[in-house]
């Protein structure tokens, strides 16, 4: 440190406090980094305790303040539709278009404006440059066959006294080729609400009901409709093809009118996707909420709050959010929960105002929910058709209602339709009350239960603690690598510095550039690795396992090539110099790169950054050459070696994925092909997590391994 030099000078130069603080941090970086890391992990475990109860932030929403108007009359009409649809399916006559026609007929009987929207399935192709780009209208639709297209049915109710500037969207996906009872029931719920809304006087926003043809996937249908809504194509192939493919006979003028107009209503205020699960619940009717959209974007918390409030307090439905089920039976989590509970009791005894303890069962449940919330946000794949809306800045949520018994009991079904319909009616009424956009509540949050949430201010503490140790350690490593050498020289020879020596010092102080170059090269390699799956995909008849193996081999090959071309020169220019500190510099630069990468990622997808930090920060901090450790045969060093090896194993993305998958789902039947499939799904949805893995995580892992195996 600077003390050794400044000691010689007679008047002590007093440094500025900020510099002194920095020097203090750097000198104690070991201790501090350990403290920060453990604190980060601890706060992550404490997060379920810190969750707050949700509350409806926007007063204008007023959920549940009006009595539901949906009556048994609408429900019986809806029952008619359900019966017609299911009988249609039994007859199996001219499947496809027939059901859409039936729905359209029902819609237009209500006085709604009906239109059809034809779309063609888009194959999931890997577009390396399509990350972050907005949905593109100019996607070339090649080889469209006339027979394979989906047909969405869209009905619009114009608010009688509204100005038509805003709209609320209801989406019911259903498979037009085979209508299950669940899908028919979801259509029934939507229809009952729709028929009520044609008569109500309070409507201020238009209502759009999209019956999405999920023949080619729910998301694809909704996405196609939204694309036509927002980025219509006026010219070109689409219309001509539609003209050519007119195999269907259009009977009436009315039907043709439905066909050629794509009907619109203003800006979308919110969207609700309604689904009815085919599986049935054991105890009571329940409602699952899915909210995660692409890249971990969430709808406004108020939307979830309304649904939660109405479902629990008005309709008596049990609300479920996605959980990691395997965590519920986790032993150590239970023990931790009990410890925290007793701690909470103790604190309460000391001061009755300290209330941070929650029951152990709640803690375990909260952790399971939090984990899945974190995971699905980190994955960056929308968990339902609502994800398509988020791409156009529309708040949307998927509601999956499941009934207690799926029997054909008539009264039971009526009750189910009534409850579902009233829930949707209440949500629509609340959104209808809203004069402005959803803005009041949170957009960045994690759910620990349907009625508890963690805002960004709380959960970023974990990330901040984890990440904060990185720059400290990087700085201290750099300082050590730069300053220890001169001190050696001073001890050896005390003669005044010559010109050559000055040059040496300046050269040495720029040595980090070589390390930086190496890091840059490895990161470039990461980009190359990212692009490789595009080419591997072109290979026909490839099982996931073989393509994964091909990918790994190609990656290693490209890494070797890169090292041979770019990596070699600097390694022997300074070969004469002691390489002792080279690894430290390399580690320092690696850590800085990881820090920058994690911070960037936290802006794009916080959950990814958080999980990534959890894996990467300990690995980066621990990395130490094995050779040095093995040389000095101490217990401490051996434990470090073990840690390094374990972290290096866990830090490798495929092994991390497989280990976690094994832990959560059981180890039997796991193959490396699963990772390939997982990765493929990530890039098919153009999630930023894919970029993160390739550009930040993998290079950092390689560099850490390089440090561990460093020949010094």
């Amino acid at each position: 440190m600077g003390e050794s030099e400044s000691e010689n000078e007679a008047p002590k130069v007093k440094l500025r406090p900020i510099v002194r603080l920095g020097m203090f941090l750097i000198s104690h970086s070991h201790l501090l980094s350990v403290v920060c890391c453990t604190a980060g992990v601890l706060t992550l475990l404490l997060l379920p305790l810190l969750a707050k109860n949700t509350y409806i932030s926007e007063n204008a929403l007023m959920p549940g303040s009006a009595n539901p108007m949906l009556s048994s009359q609408e429900v019986s009409e809806a029952n008619g539709l359900v019966k017609d649809l299911t009988s249609l399916d039994l007859k199996r006559m001219a499947s496809g278009i027939e059901s859409q026609r039936l729905i359209a007929q029902y819609m237009s009987n209500l006085g709604a404006e009906v239109s059809f929207q034809k779309f063609y399935p888009q194959s999931n192709q890997f577009h390396p440059l399509h990350f972050f780009s907005s949905p593109d209208s100019a996607t070339i639709r090649e080889n469209i066959s006339c027979s394979s297209y989906g047909l969405n049915t869209v009905g619009i109710i114009r608010a009688p006294r509204g100005d038509g500037k805003e709209a609320i969207v209801l989406v019911t996906p259903y498979n037009s080729e085979k209508i299950g009872l669940g899908e028919a029931l979801s259509l029934g719920i939507a229809y009952s609400v729709f028929s009520l809304l044609t008569r109500v006087t309070w409507l201020a926003k238009d209502i759009i009901w999209v019956v999405a043809d999920s023949k080619y996937g729910e998301y694809a249908a909704v996405d196609a409709w939204l694309r036509d809504y927002y980025i219509p194509v006026f010219s070109g192939l689409g219309i001509q093809n539609a003209e050519m493919c007119h195999g269907l006979e259009e009977n009436t003028i009315r039907e043709r009118n439905m066909r050629d107009g794509f009907k619109r209503a203003g800006t979308m205020a919110a969207a609700l996707v309604i689904k009815v699960a085919d599986r049935s619940e054991q105890f009571e009717d329940s409602l699952s909420i899915y909210a995660e959209a692409s890249n971990g974007q969430m709808p406004n918390l108020d939307l979830i709050n309304i649904v939660n409030y109405l479902a629990v307090h008005r309709q008596g439905l049990r609300i479920k959010v996605e959980k990691m089920w395997s965590l519920l039976n986790c032993k150590w989590l239970k023990i931790l929960g009990e410890i925290l509970e007793s701690l909470g009791h103790l604190a309460k005894n000391l001061n009755p105002q300290w209330k941070f303890g929650i029951p152990a069962a709640d803690y375990v449940e909260g952790t399971a929910t939090l984990t899945s919330s974190l995971y699905y946000q980190a994955l960056g794949i929308p968990t339902g058709p609502h994800g398509a809306f988020r791409d156009y800045q529309v708040d949307a949520v998927t509601l999956e209602i499941s009934s207690r018994v799926s029997s054909n009991n008539k009264g039971r079904q009526n009750d189910f339709l009534l409850r579902g319909g009233r829930l949707i009616e209440g949500v629509i009424r609340s959104v209808n009350n809203l004069l402005e956009k959803f803005h009041q509540s949170f957009f960045l949050y994690l759910l620990t239960s349907p009625s508890k949430f963690l805002s960004v201010g709380v959960y970023m503490i974990t990330f901040a603690l984890l990440v904060s140790s990185l720059p400290m350690v990087a700085a201290s490593l750099y300082a050590h690598a730069n300053n220890l050498d001169p001190s050696f020289e001073k001890n050896e020879s005390n003669h005044p510095a010559s010109a050559a020596d000055e040059l040496g010092i300046t050269l040495r102080s720029w040595k980090w550039l070589y390390a930086a170059k190496k890091v840059l090269v490895v990161h470039l390699w990461g980009a190359v690795v990212l692009l490789l799956p595009y080419f591997i995909c072109q290979i026909p008849n490839c099982t996931p396992t073989t393509s994964f193996v091909v990918w790994v081999l190609l990656s290693i090959f490209s890494l070797l090539i890169l090292f041979w071309i770019l990596g070699s020169p600097f390694s022997y220019v300074y070969a004469s110099q002691p390489q002792q500190r080279e690894w430290a510099l390399l580690k320092s630069v690696t850590i800085s790169a990881a820090f920058i990468g994690l911070c960037l990622m936290s802006v794009i997808n916080f959950a990814t950054a958080e999980i990534g930090a959890l894996l990467m920060v300990p690995m980066c901090l621990m990395a130490h050459p094995l050779k040095l450790d093995v040389k000095s045969r101490k217990l401490r060093n051996f434990s470090r070696v073990a840690c390094n090896l374990a972290l290096g194993f866990i830090g490798f993305p495929p092994t991390a994925f497989l280990v976690f998958k094994g832990v959560f789902e059981g180890f039997d039947g796991i193959s490396v092909g699963d990772f390939w499939n997982w990765l493929e799904s990530i890039w098919a949805w153009s999630s930023a997590t894919y970029l993160y893995i390739g550009m930040i995580h993998l290079p950092c892992w390689i560099l850490c391994i390089h440090v561990i195996l460093h020949p010094c």
Binding site: S134, P160, G162, T201, P232, S235, G261, K437
Partner: protein
């Protein structure tokens, strides 16, 4: 008023009644010769089971020179003063709630093209003043009107909201200003002052039907005030001021019992009567009105449908063979027998023509109220005449940066004979004029205008015949685009797109709370080749009704597009607070350190430090001082001289504190 005054004991009362009478006579005399008022109501069943009611009140005042100066008998003084003060040549003000459904309620008749208005407030006025004074007049006019009608029309005063135009919307020679407020909420507070302009208010006559809850329950509500004055015409005949007030409502009759029976096939139209849709009956005319009529209009399509029905009935059952015309038609039944029946004179359309039933309500009174009812007997399906092209406007693109306005036209399948009759050429062209005002915060790029006809991109010069663009100026004036488009007659669909950037607003231009977005006012689409005029065959042209003569006027088919909502970037308004906090912190840090530097004497401090360090201390203070020295970046010097009293924290004290705390914790834990 009509009652004769009874003889009473008091002479004074008689006297007062006589005075009263004389004034009434005076009023009557003046009405007859000079100022006139007429009230009319048109009822029309609509194809989608709704009923249109169109009230039409007209008050005329003779030119100033021939009347008694500034004194008016019937004509509202407020309007007369307004006309004289601001030299208004023509003006139209409309308050609308809801949207006119051009597909179902018609887009090709005089009612729709002159009474279908965009939601909110629309105002245009032509002034007869020198060009440089037009803006000032407009400003004053908006303020006056906003006071008169309890609306925020004064927001049209700022030049960012109104515009002038050359030729697109209304043919006039300069001096025209046009502005809309799409956001204005319309309610009774606007209707009451409007009714106050009527001589009978809503106390008598047809306007008594205007029961507020029932008319505001409707699907469309538009009150309109149209003013023409020829006071300031330099040349031509002077006809005085004509004030035309029209209220158009679309109401839904209650029809729950009836709809059940025919639910399997086409539904029977709901039956209605005046008392069922308005909740009131007409209890006599406004005594000051020259004419007071109620009309029931049956559209062309409906008449055709009824004729078909009649033919069917003739085949099936010969009950109705004897009855002539549609008076005893099979489709519906009227509760009151009409006084007169007019048939539309139409040369163009080969098919049947629309029918108008007239009821004069002069003979009805409180004891015998007029309550027209229509009961449907058989379901009839018909459609309304529609404008040649159905136009709709929407926004494309997402995000906060840019977007596209698109106007799309789709052909509404007019009868081919109609088109050919109108133009009668092979290479015929369908003309459509567009008048679009774009607020300045929508930075429209007019060079990006693109036209697609039938799904093919088309060169602008092929389609756009004439174009006038005045770009917007930030915070100064809105952009105006006027286009004359000529499509081939066989066009099926066409689209226009115009790209724009969303601008940034100044902080005080945002609404105070979070907003839903900003509006782009409706575009006006005019089809100048197509004239709406309905000519009804009347027996004597002497007492022509003002409404029917209005229908006869040839006016181009005109339709308004939807209002659009553009979400603009809304800054986080808590940001100023954050900025203030941060700047305050920075200032505090800066001045704190500056003061620190200024008042510090380094030598003195070091001496004191040395002194204090030399004093002996316990283990913990030693550690603390070591730490503080490290923090300060100095070499820690071990204490030299012993000292006891001055050390702030002694080990004994700490021990005591710990013991006390432990006891307290113990006590608390076990007392619970």
């Amino acid at each position: 008023m009509a009652h004769l005054p009874r003889r009473t004991h008091s002479i004074l009362l008689i006297l007062s009644f006589q005075i009263c009478f004389s004034t009434i006579f005076a009023v009557f005399g003046s009405v007859f010769f000079q100022e006139e008022f007429s009230e009319e109501l048109l009822l029309k069943p609509l194809p989608d089971r709704k009923v249109l009611a169109h009230f039409h009140f007209e008050t005329t005042a003779p030119p100033l020179s021939t009347s008694h100066g500034r004194h008016h008998h019937l004509f509202p003084k407020a309007i007369a003063q307004l006309v004289q003060k601001f030299h208004v040549k023509e003006m139209e003000l409309s308050f609308t709630q809801g949207r006119w459904n051009y597909d179902r309620w018609g887009g090709f008749d005089p009612i729709s093209s002159s009474n279908a208005k965009p939601p909110g407030v629309e105002l245009w006025a032509v002034f007869d003043v020198p060009k440089d004074q037009v803006d000032a007049s407009w400003k004053n006019l908006t303020h006056t009107l906003s006071g008169l009608f309890c609306a925020s029309i004064n927001f049209l005063e700022s030049s960012t909201t109104y515009s002038t135009h050359e030729w697109g919307f209304h043919p006039s020679s300069g001096g025209l200003r046009y502005g809309t407020l799409p956001r204005e909420a319309v309610c009774t507070e606007n209707l009451t002052p409007w009714l106050k302009l009527l001589p009978c208010r809503d106390k008598a006559g047809l306007s008594a039907l205007l029961d507020r809850p029932s008319i505001y329950r409707g699907f469309y509500h538009s009150q309109r005030l149209h003013l023409t004055s020829s006071e300031f015409h330099s040349s031509g005949v002077e006809s005085g001021i004509v004030l035309e007030q029209a209220l158009t409502v679309v109401l839904q009759p209650n029809s729950h019992k009836m709809s059940k029976t025919f639910s399997s096939e086409t539904k029977l139209q709901p039956s209605w009567s005046l008392s069922s849709i308005f909740g009131r009956k007409v209890t006599g005319r406004c005594i000051l009105a020259k004419t007071s009529n109620v009309y029931l209009q049956l559209e062309r399509g409906l008449v055709t449908g009824l004729e078909n029905l009649q033919k069917d009935n003739m085949i099936t059952g010969p009950d109705h063979v004897g009855s002539g015309g549609l008076k005893d038609n099979p489709g519906f039944e009227l509760s009151v027998r009409p006084d007169k029946m007019f048939k539309e004179v139409n040369s163009l359309h080969g098919k049947s023509s629309s029918i108008l039933y007239e009821y004069s309500i002069e003979r009805y009174s409180v004891f015998e109220p007029f309550d027209l009812g229509l009961t449907w007997k058989f379901p009839v399906v018909w459609s309304c005449p529609r404008a040649p092209l159905h136009s709709s406007r929407f926004l494309m693109g997402s995000g906060n940066q840019r977007g596209t306005i698109a106007i799309s036209f789709t052909s509404t399948d007019l009868e081919e004979g109609f088109l050919s009759a109108n133009i009668g050429e092979e290479s015929c062209k369908l003309q459509a004029d567009i008048f679009q005002v774009v607020p300045w915060y929508i930075k429209a790029y007019y060079h990006t205008l693109r036209v697609f006809v039938d799904g093919q991109p088309e060169a602008i010069t092929n389609v756009v015949e004439k174009m006038h663009v005045s770009p917007s100026e930030d915070k100064e004036s809105p952009g105006v685009m006027e286009l004359v488009l000529k499509f081939p007659c066989a066009v099926k669909s066409a689209a226009l797109t115009l790209e724009f950037d969303k601008g940034f607003l100044h902080i005080d231009e945002y609404p105070p709370d979070a907003n839903q977005g900003f509006d782009i006012p409706s575009a006006v689409i005019i089809f100048p080749n197509f004239q709406t005029s309905m000519h009804y065959l009347e027996d004597n042209s002497s007492n022509k009704s003002p409404m029917l003569s209005k229908f006869q006027e040839k006016s181009p088919v005109l339709s308004y597009t939807e209002v659009l909502l553009v979400p603009l970037t809304t800054p986080d308004f808590s940001m100023p607070y954050n900025v203030i906090t941060i700047t305050c912190t920075v200032f505090a840090l800066y001045f704190g350190s500056l003061l620190n530097v200024l008042r510090r004497r380094v030598g003195e401090e070091e001496r004191i430090l040395k002194n204090s360090a030399s004093k002996k201390a316990g283990r913990l203070p030693q550690l603390l001082s070591r730490l503080s020295a490290k923090l300060r970046g100095k070499e820690w010097e071990p204490p030299q001289s012993p000292s006891t009293s001055s050390s702030f924290i002694s080990s004994k004290l700490i021990l005591k504190v710990f013991i006390v705390a432990g006891v307290a914790v113990f006590w608390q834990y076990y007392s619970e």
